[in-house]
Symmetry: C2
Subunit: 427 residues, 2 copies
């Protein structure tokens, strides 16, 4: 029997009782003959409480110390989970990210995993122990500093460990039953997906579905680790994130793969429009160079064909709202050099995305999507497409209507309500 890697988020570890419940689940898997390695997040609101303390001490905490502070959270939860397992008569060993060999680069607060050298984990498994690893944290390769992986980091820890240990599966436990065709808070009739491809999951994550972090899915895809997203509050099968091939495995041959995986939405972005850019070679490059220098990650980018009469064009793009101020400052600095007319900033937008690997071979998806939006009275601001995704920017207040109309138009509604949110909102 192989290794099973599990990850439990903060809402699954909210208090002592929750921790004991998680310990029972872990022990069940061990009893079934598997070796078990578990990545844990900090308990409930621990991380937020620590950040509040930091804010009370200084408005500008150094990133290194912020990582040191936050890394205490998982240290607490992992030791408690190990104790709870011991209480059930099994032995467990907890390891910090550093001890577990999670090697990262040195970018505090958003470090990337470079390598996993799980010697101590492997040794503890060999000695018969269940292993608990602090999620979200690692140690930098050269400077040996404690780092954190940023939002959703514990998911990434889990799948990186699964890859390094050649685990059979990486189970991501959360407070919902899996990945749904839309956010159940907006679309109560959303259906749980039994399977979804890495590519679709990547698009869903990138387009606002918060259930799995982008980097976790990228890691799983690169190393071919099946990811099973499920609830720690029920025994239901969740959603398997697997390769396209996996979707068309033996048991799938009689069924066609569904065209559409789901409808995602995102209200965390803002839109900037650079108005009146001289339409000549190098101007757009200069704008995006300035934004890259300011470490801004752009999402959708649209440039309209210039009206020949003016030789001027408008460039619009979306970006995280949190980066809005920095981006506007960076662009204002190059106004004279580029010679554009003015900047427009809009953070009252939302993005709605239709995602499905099946749309590759199905014409007419785009027109059906736009027709659904039109019939719901939703005005489209920007459009962007990939091979398996269509995204539109709409007014922030039109997002819910747009999601519901699209979900219905593509026959995704379930006959009865499937989604249950068990825990709080924390992850």
């Amino acid at each position: 029997m192989g290794i099973v890697v599990q990850k439990y988020g903060g809402s699954s570890l909210a208090d002592a009782d929750a921790i004991k419940r998680v310990a029972r689940r872990i022990v069940e898997v061990k009893k079934s003959g598997h070796d078990v390695v578990v990545a844990v997040s900090a308990m409930g609101d621990t991380t937020d409480d620590l950040l509040d303390l930091a804010a009370a001490v200084t408005p500008l905490p150094p990133a290194r110390e912020l990582d040191m502070l936050q890394s205490a959270g998982e240290r607490i939860s992992m030791a408690l989970v190990a104790m709870a397992i011991s209480d059930l008569g099994y032995t467990a060993r907890s390891f910090t990210g550093s001890q577990a060999g999670v090697i990262t680069d040195a970018q505090h607060g958003k470090a990337k995993i470079i390598d996993v050298t799980p010697g101590r984990v492997t040794q503890a498994i060999g000695e018969g122990h269940i292993v608990i690893v602090a999620g979200f944290q690692g140690v930098s390769q050269d400077t040996k500093e404690i780092t954190t992986l940023g939002r959703g980091g514990s998911d990434t820890t889990a799948v990186a460990l699964a890859a390094a240990l050649e685990a059979d599966v990486c189970e991501i436990y959360t407070d919902v039953d899996g990945v749904f065709t839309a956010d159940p808070r907006i679309v109560p009739s959303a259906r749980k997906l039994d399977r979804v491809s890495y590519e679709e999951m990547l698009e869903l994550a990138a387009c606002g579905a918060k259930i799995l972090h982008l980097r976790c899915v990228e890691y799983g895809r690169r190393y071919g680790i099946p990811i099973h997203v499920r609830s720690s509050f029920s025994q239901l099968e969740g959603t398997w994130v697997v390769s396209d091939t996996g979707l068309q495995g033996p048991e799938e041959t009689t069924m066609e793969q569904p065209i559409i995986a789901g409808v995602a939405h995102d209200r965390s972005e803002a839109k900037i429009t650079v108005v009146g850019v001289p339409d000549k070679v190098g101007e757009a490059a200069r704008i995006f160079e300035a934004l890259a220098d300011a470490q801004i990650n752009l999402d959708m980018i649209v440039q309209n064909v210039s009206a020949a009469a003016t030789s001027l064009t408008d460039i619009s793009f979306t970006l995280p709202r949190t980066d809005g101020q920095v981006a506007m400052t960076a662009l204002a600095r190059i106004q004279a050099e580029v010679g554009y007319d003015k900047l427009l900033y809009d953070d009252k937008i939302g993005k709605v995305s239709l995602i499905g690997a099946g749309m590759r071979s199905h014409p007419g998806i785009t027109s059906k999507f736009f027709a659904a939006l039109a019939s719901a009275g939703v005005n489209i601001g920007m459009i962007s497409t990939s091979e398996i995704r269509i995204s539109v920017v709409v007014d922030e207040n039109a997002v819910d209507d747009a999601v519901r109309a699209t979900h219905t138009a593509f026959d995704l509604d379930a006959d009865e309500v499937e989604a249950v949110v068990y825990g709080g909102t924390g992850r």
Copy 2:
């Protein structure tokens, strides 16, 4: 200018405001031209809160995981102190016990420091940083496991760092102004000691004065590190713990060293009497062997001369109350082998000790001590002496009277109240 090592306890780090006050003190020393290394305890009640969580998960937490859990507390406080320093325009680097090179044996919960290899601390000092180190914790030499040093461990961390860094002084910050001639809660007229020798401080600590931990004083004595015990809530000079020679330095030559350093008391012990032990070679050894095998630390031991008529003797000893049950069980197991009559257990006792290096050369101290106890109506149960200490066991309820009577008899009372307790009771 040399290195100053400071230690701040939990009551000095109770909340964000307290942490900012500590940061200002640290920066003042740095401004004066010293390099500063600071050992910190966990904030306020953090450690107790963590232990409560552990107790809610299991009644018998594994020691390894308990250490992992508790070590999170200092990680939080040290990062916050570093941030607060940064807020004042200075740079700080926090290090865990492991990162700071605090190498211990593998006894979880009561590990002893074997070595300190402060390479990263020295490097950070060289780069101009203020260094914050997690007190109370280390890493085991062979197994590389996180360990904790037990009660008062942060004091020991501080003085061990001071020794390894060849610091000029180790300042122990607490919530009182220094070491007093008696516990000010019992004797309001207790006087603050300006100086006390390592030997006297060792006896004071061993006899129940909780201001400094025994191992901290032992460490300071072995490496000749001057320890300055003072309050983080005032700017007053505290008590210097130094060598006997230091007490009789140039500025002291005109004054005779005081005979008595203080009166200590301890209500944490119990007394066991083994009644009717056959008075022959090897019997006592068998009893103490059994107690040693059970890892019991004994304090006072008294054996009465046997009455010739019976050839039986009684052996009494004191030990921590928390070890009472284990000791009684270990002794019951060897009753047939040793052939003693019965065991008596008494945990309603207290120990009162008179301590002073000056008593070596002053006859009459003992008789004055006993006369004071008699005039206060206190009955003496056991007596034990060293060259600089006399201890008596009395009824638990007579401890306060015994301490006050002794304090007055030796002219230790101050003219006005000197002692102020600033913070809470936590350390």
